[in-house]
């Protein structure tokens, strides 16, 4: 993954494409940007590095006209710009590919690309527009059918539409917000080539990331943000991963988690040739067979939407199978209900924390009893014992170090890391040695991520069987004992984590069979 680091600009005397000076943006209770200065040159790929909540997206949303800054100036190609709306930004040649794509699902690719343009004035000549798009996509190697509807496209294709949208508008400043989060390693490499090509044509590329490897692989220069402030800007070639990590987090970061060797017990969970339909009634799991033993973490890798979510839902009783069997501790529990799953001791850390994991408006205490409230000591018959509930909640707050003003605080006010602590506390206490964790560290900062990962390893050491679904390959490699790769509803291969590497797993995520990388 190496790229030519040369670029057209020849240093500081060239007028920068973007200069942001003293940008301040406040949200209720938070200063998202606190006097940020940023300079991006034409022809360079500039990485914006920082933890979640460091203010990267906010800064770029200001540049793209989504937010208005409270203070500060923006100069585009040396000229002071007053960016009041996305329309102004587009006029200045600024295009942004958002993390959550800005696409209208029910419209076609071509319709999405021309959305908001002032040309044509009235009548849409779609066939002409479609030709233009085809030409543009060929030039940059961004293959996509302009007639297809967005809801028919894969995530990778949707991203291509987003980039084309910016290019069609003549953007010469392109902002990419965590572009690789949804891509396979190979797709990410293709994207890197496309970006390099655009930079070669003199465009300024800014990409937001919190992944250090990407900074090294893709960027010419890097700006590190921490807690809304710029910590450093430097050429990528003159720094290294360790230094960047230290700047980003503000302390030394260990890249290795201590993991004891596995002590395997009995088979806790077994799936035999399981077939499942997704919400649209299409096959989501197609003959999945796997088993997890006590004391083992089985990681599930795969690009989002390849059946991971449905797999978790089957195990937690949320989704019925059309055929196949599900066994817990050797007992057939196929198509049991969520209630029966809870009784069987299945813990569930869902991917959607505030949607499925917690009730946002209820206090911490009510959220942590959601699984145990039916039984004494928390309840007597139909009545809750409020004193027991409070004691129980305070005990969990202490044991799991949930940082909350009190047990009566609504959970929606807690940070992501503390939300996850609430869920883990409830699930671990109510569970009996089988845990399903879906994206347990997604969106968490480095500190909270470390804590959650430690909790998972601790459960493993205590003999829990853990099904870990994650989009973060580094995390899967660090935590799992074995890694199963899912592609289009099938398990393409299961490899021991110590033999696995990002490259071979990436290939499988893109659909090639385990045999192709055997011995890798």
């Amino acid at each position: 993954m190496t790229f030519d680091h040369g670029h057209n600009g020849n240093g500081a005397d060239v007028v920068p494409a973007v200069r942001m000076v003293g940008i301040v943006k406040r949200f209720p209770g938070v200063v998202a940007n606190d006097g940020v200065n940023l300079e991006v040159r034409a022809g360079e790929i500039h990485a914006l590095l920082g933890e979640n909540g460091a203010g990267k997206s906010t800064l770029m949303n200001i540049l793209a006209g989504i937010y208005r800054p409270d203070e500060g100036q923006i100069y585009i190609h040396g000229r002071l710009a007053d960016i009041r709306s996305p329309r102004d930004a587009i006029r200045l040649g600024i295009g942004m590919v958002h993390q959550h794509f800005m696409l209208v699902e029910t419209l076609s690719v071509a319709e999405n690309i021309i959305l908001g343009l002032e040309r044509p004035r009235l009548r849409l000549n779609m066939s002409h527009i479609e030709e233009e798009i085809t030409e543009l996509s060929r030039h940059y190697g961004l293959q996509v059918d302009p007639r297809a509807y967005i809801w028919q496209l894969s995530v990778g294709e949707q991203q291509r539409v987003e980039i084309l949208k910016a290019l069609y508008r003549g953007a010469d400043i392109l902002i990419m917000d965590e572009p690789t989060a949804v891509l396979t390693p190979q797709e990410a490499n293709d994207l890197g080539r496309t970006l390099r090509r655009m930079a070669g044509e003199g465009k300024a590329i800014i990409f937001i990331t919190h992944k250090l490897d990407e900074v090294a692989a893709f960027s010419d220069r890097v700006t590190v943000l921490r807690k809304g402030r710029v910590i450093a800007t430097m050429p990528t070639a003159q720094t290294n991963k360790a230094e960047l990590a230290r700047l980003m987090v503000g302390r030394e970061v260990l890249f290795r988690l201590e993991k004891e060797p596995a002590r395997l017990g009995d088979v806790m969970l077994e799936l035999r040739d399981v077939h499942v339909l997704n919400d649209k009634g299409l096959p989501a799991l197609r003959g999945v067979s796997l088993e997890i033993r006590a004391g083992e973490i089985l990681g599930i890798a795969g690009v989002a939407g390849n059946g991971q979510r449905e797999l978790a839902e089957v195990v937690t009783g949320l989704r019925p199978v059309t055929s196949g069997r599900l066994l817990i501790r050797g007992r057939d529990v196929t198509n049991y209900s969520p209630r029966e799953a809870i009784q069987a001791g299945v813990s569930h850390v869902p991917g959607d924390r505030l949607g499925m994991g917690l009730v946002p408006n209820l206090p911490v205490s009510d959220n942590v009893i959601l699984k145990g409230y039916r039984k004494p000591p928390l309840s007597q018959g139909p009545f809750l014992d409020r004193h027991a509930v409070v004691r129980f909640a305070q005990d969990l707050i202490q044991r799991f170090r949930i940082d909350t003003p009190s047990h009566t605080t609504p959970v929606r006010l807690l940070s992501g890391g503390n939300l996850q602590r609430c869920i883990l506390a409830r699930e671990i206490v109510a569970g009996r040695g089988l845990l399903v964790a879906v994206h347990p560290t997604r969106g968490l900062d480095v500190g909270a991520t470390e804590a959650v990962q430690r909790m998972l390893l601790e459960q493993r050491a205590r003999g829990a069987a853990i099904l870990l679904i994650s989009e973060d390959l580094e995390e899967l490699l660090a935590l799992s004992d074995r890694i199963a790769v899912m592609y289009e509803g099938e398990v393409l291969g299961i490899v021991p984590a110590e033999e696995a590497d990002v490259e071979s797993i990436g290939l499988m995520m893109a659909g090639s069979r385990a045999t192709a990388v055997a011995g890798g």
Binding site: I90, V104, L122, K280, G281
Partner: protein, 318 residues
């Protein structure tokens, strides 16, 4: 059934369906922008009452039509302000508008006659049927389609125009995007709130026009509750038509037809109760709702605008 009878039933059906279709087209435009206006019944009543009062006093039908559209637009503006700017609950706001419109039209209907006497029972100007030269001579078709009043002919033009606007023009594309994904539309530089105001008011004007057709053409004159639930049928029709102006024609003809046939059937001494026929539009609507809810891929193609009824605000900290 003779051909002549069929032609006359079809003619009545079109006349009965016209006010429905104006209201439905108006509501389609409004809902396509993401605003649910349940105030149709109230707006339609106010449109009908004000159209009749203005035409009566001015002697001009077009003053009546313009007044109805202005009143409809003004009432819709109240809904727009509540639901777009204040981000109030659109169901509550719309229902209030219906109750408000029904009450106010009844109240003003008692005062707006000559010497502050009631409008009820007065005879005012009305749109006469105007056979189109040439076209009205075509057998069967001429009898049913081209011996109508001007507002019906205007509808013949409006429907294809709205369809073309929606699917073949740039502002139409923007309208669809605003109701489907306002955040994206906003990021693409489209004025989301402006579009919502525009199409809510425009929709209200068409609903008012639908009311005018009732009091100036279909059932000339004013009585309390003149619309008899047509505003609600129009809301059901929007769903039945799956937010498409051409399908709305099918629905309006069907529901207008039920209304027209019902009178003849009663006259013929049928055993099917009128209440049963009046219920049919809603039964159809339930069936359509079931189908589009059941079938996800179908919804993507023809379903409700995804952001329907959801207020939009740009700056949200997340």
């Amino acid at each position: 059934m003779s051909l002549a009878l069929l032609a006359s039933i079809l003619a009545v059906t079109i006349r009965a369906g016209t006010s429905l279709l104006y209201a439905t087209i108006g509501e389609i435009l409004t809902e396509r922008s993401g605003i649910l206006n349940l105030g149709l019944e109230g707006i339609m009543l106010m449109g009908a009452m004000s159209a009749f009062a203005a035409a009566y006093h001015s002697g001009s039908l077009w003053v009546g039509v313009m007044t109805a559209m202005a009143v409809g637009g003004a009432l819709a503006l109240i809904h727009a302000f509540l639901s777009i700017t204040l981000r109030a609950d659109q169901v509550v706001s719309g229902l209030s508008l219906t109750i408000f419109g029904a009450g106010l039209s009844s109240f003003l209907g008692q005062r707006l006659g000559p010497d502050s006497k009631p409008l009820v029972g007065l005879i005012g100007p009305q749109f006469e049927r105007l056979p189109l030269p040439g076209l009205s001579g075509i057998p069967f078709l001429g009898e049913s389609f081209f011996r109508q009043d001007l507002l019906v002919y205007l509808m013949y033009l409006l429907v294809p125009l709205v369809w073309y606007f929606l699917y073949r023009t740039r502002p139409g594309l923007h309208l669809r995007a605003v109701g489907e994904n306002p955040r994206t539309a906003d990021a693409m530089g489209i004025n989301v709130l402006g579009a919502r105001y525009l199409y809510t008011v425009l929709g209200g004007m068409l609903v008012g026009l639908g009311g005018a057709h009732l009091s100036l053409a279909y059932t000339p004159g004013w009585t309390d509750n003149l619309t008899g639930g047509r505003g609600w049928i129009a809301i059901a029709l929007v769903i039945f038509a799956m937010w498409d102006p051409l399908r709305a024609v099918v629905g309006a003809v069907l529901f207008g037809g039920i209304n027209a046939v019902q009178f003849r059937m009663q006259a013929a001494g049928t055993t099917i109760p009128a209440a049963f026929l009046n219920m049919l539009p809603y039964v159809f609507t339930v069936v359509v709702l079931v189908v589009i809810t059941w079938w996800e891929a179908f919804r993507k193609r023809v379903g409700a605008p995804a952001a329907l009824g959801v207020p939009y605000m740009r700056e949200e900290w997340h």
